[in-house]
């Protein structure tokens, strides 16, 4: 979806506040971090659904809110959408029924975190592109989740590497099965993206781009 989370190349945010050195700025942010990970491990949603939930935050709230406010919004939304808590329970903080899910115990955390959630998959198709191929990112503007930022859409680049097949996030974010799609690192010259007059000299942007976002560039 084209919302304000897609920040690359936007103006108006001022200087970077380099005094913000810590991850957790407010004490409650630790709680949001831990709740988000712990609830995610219950297995009722995947990482792409988490990202899509955060992106669906009201655009003004997203920009005014801190990073962990995005997480809090996403967590509450998923808990409700997946039926783990009700709107009433969220408002009151008191449970109205029991859950058929059990908390992941502390003792299992280390192993789960060390395993993580690999997204590499087998794919029986042959990759459409290989390193050195010129590619054109398609023009598309889905209302649903995508990992193609707006600034590369319609732009030409060159494949730097093929990362093999990975879970395709656009469909995974709607809770469907893991579908494989080849993933490439694509190099875009800064001038191609921002225009020759506005790009900074001798610079490029490398973006990981899924095969369905691209076509061969015959120009």
């Amino acid at each position: 979806m084209n919302s304000v989370h897609d920040l690359g190349g936007m103006h108006g945010f001022g200087m970077i506040d380099r005094s913000q050195q810590e991850n957790f700025v407010q004490p409650w942010e630790r709680t949001v971090f831990a709740l988000t990970l712990a609830c995610g491990m219950l297995g009722r949603w995947n990482l792409d659904e988490s990202r899509f939930a955060r992106e669906r935050m009201d655009p003004g709230d997203y920009l005014k809110g801190s990073y962990y406010e995005h997480w809090l919004h996403g967590l509450e939304l998923l808990l409700k959408e997946k039926g783990l808590v009700s709107e009433n329970e969220l408002a009151s903080g008191s449970p109205e029924g029991s859950s058929d899910l059990s908390a992941i115990p502390a003792g299992r955390m280390a192993a789960l975190l060390e395993r993580g959630g690999p997204t590499a998959m087998d794919n029986t198709d042959v990759p459409a592109f290989r390193a050195g191929d010129p590619v054109l990112v398609r023009t598309f503007n889905p209302k649903t989740h995508t990992r193609a930022p707006r600034y590369i859409r319609g732009k030409r680049g060159v494949v730097a590497t093929c990362h093999g097949a990975h879970v395709f996030p656009d469909s995974h974010a709607s809770g469907t099965d893991r579908l494989p799609a080849y993933l490439y690192n694509v190099r875009f010259e800064a001038g191609e993206i921002w225009g020759a007059g506005d790009a900074q000299g001798n610079s490029s942007v490398h973006v990981d781009v899924f095969e369905p976002y691209m076509e061969a560039d015959h120009a």
């Binding site: 971090f33 709230d61 990073y67 908390a103 992941i104 600034y151 990981d208």
Partner: protein, 206 residues
């Protein structure tokens, strides 16, 4: 802020803390979350997993040519050799600074970051300003961080749009030939591995 929201969606500093406490208590009471597991999560990423891990990877790459080759070819495996792996580092790639190329990492769409080697990101990395600006004006951003590059040094910005996580291998500072691997690791800041600093300099506290 928040005047369009439902009452329990408070936004003021006190309101949000209350909202989080209510959510925590609800989820614990419903048996969905184990408080001890929450402590374990926070303690792990606040105290045990941090940029010292990445610094050891960099120092090893600087001192062991065979390791460097393994790291360049399959960063995930080479990093696992040192015991670092898992969530938000399942698929690693290193990008090496040279006299001709300087690399810098961002995630414009959210704030992806290689947790096993760098821990959790500083708040500035997650800020709108960093995410918006570093892809379109990387030289200006680097200068604000104190990194001024010659025009003939190419700047490569890596936007982590998928599940590949990037670690910058900074250039080894001159005159460090006699240092041990541990001493070299001391020269590698978190910022140098994001690409907003050079090795041998402290982090970006302004």
């Amino acid at each position: 802020m928040g005047n369009k929201e439902l009452p329990h969606h408070g936004h003021g500093p006190g309101e949000i803390a209350l909202r989080v406490r209510r959510l925590e208590s609800l989820l614990v009471e419903k048996g969905l979350v184990d408080p001890a597991a929450m402590d374990e999560l926070v303690d792990r990423y606040e105290n045990r997993v941090g940029p010292r891990n990445g610094a050891r990877v960099v120092a090893r790459a600087w001192t062991d040519p065979a390791y460097r080759i393994r790291l360049m070819e399959n960063a995930t495996e080479a990093i696992r050799e040192l015991g670092y792996q898992g969530r938000q580092g399942e698929h690693m790639q290193v990008v090496e600074n040279t006299p001709d190329v300087h690399n810098v990492v961002v995630c414009t769409l959210c704030s992806c970051y290689p947790w096993p080697v760098l821990g959790l990101p500083p708040a500035w990395y997650k800020s709108s300003a960093y995410r918006a600006r570093v892809v379109s004006e990387p030289r200006t951003v680097l200068e604000e961080f104190g990194v001024t590059l010659d025009e003939d040094v190419e700047v490569r910005v890596w936007d982590s749009t998928a599940e590949i996580r990037y670690l910058v291998i900074p250039q080894r500072p001159r005159g460090t030939g006699s240092l041990s691997e541990d001493e070299l690791a001391d020269l590698v800041s978190r910022d140098a591995m994001i690409g907003v600093a050079l090795a041998g300099k402290p982090d970006s506290r302004s």
